[in-house]
Point group: C2
Chain length 97, copies 2
Amino acid sequence: MHVEPLSEDDRAEALDTLDEWDYDEARDAITRRFTFADFSEAFAFMTRVALLAEKANHHPEWSNVWNRVDVLLTTHDAGGLSHKDVALAEAIDALLG
Amino acid sequence: MHVEPLSEDDRAEALDTLDEWDYDEARDAITRRFTFADFSEAFAFMTRVALLAEKANHHPEWSNVWNRVDVLLTTHDAGGLSHKDVALAEAIDALLG
């Protein structure tokens, strides 16, 4: 299913709002590193993100080393950032309270 | 806790036994890519590996993109491969039947 990429204005607004996320220009993606007390906490977070992702039918590219989780969001079907990434980033941020 | 790295002979034997795993010489690590039907299956596998890892108190470096899981095993406290990596790799392989 084709998804429209964000317009320049919408991208700028999204990056302004998602102030904990970094912009990866090469991928037209947003990234954020999350650090927890230990692996158990990190994987609990990943499980919650997995549920969000499956519900949204939009999935992160992510990696985990011990207490650290690196998340990259982009939309392959849009060739870059779309509203799906903004929505998932906001939902992930909301997990952290 | 310091862990002894594998001897040359033990490393060679381990790499011979773990024939689905590749050797990353730069990291003195073993890696394996797992591919599933979809994200749900991939994350179910990750959850099972997380339980194994926590039980063994030895954790992978790993990443996931949709249906793909890339696992790298090495032992930081040993500066490379140790018996912990061999045991975890065998336990992961055993999940796949």
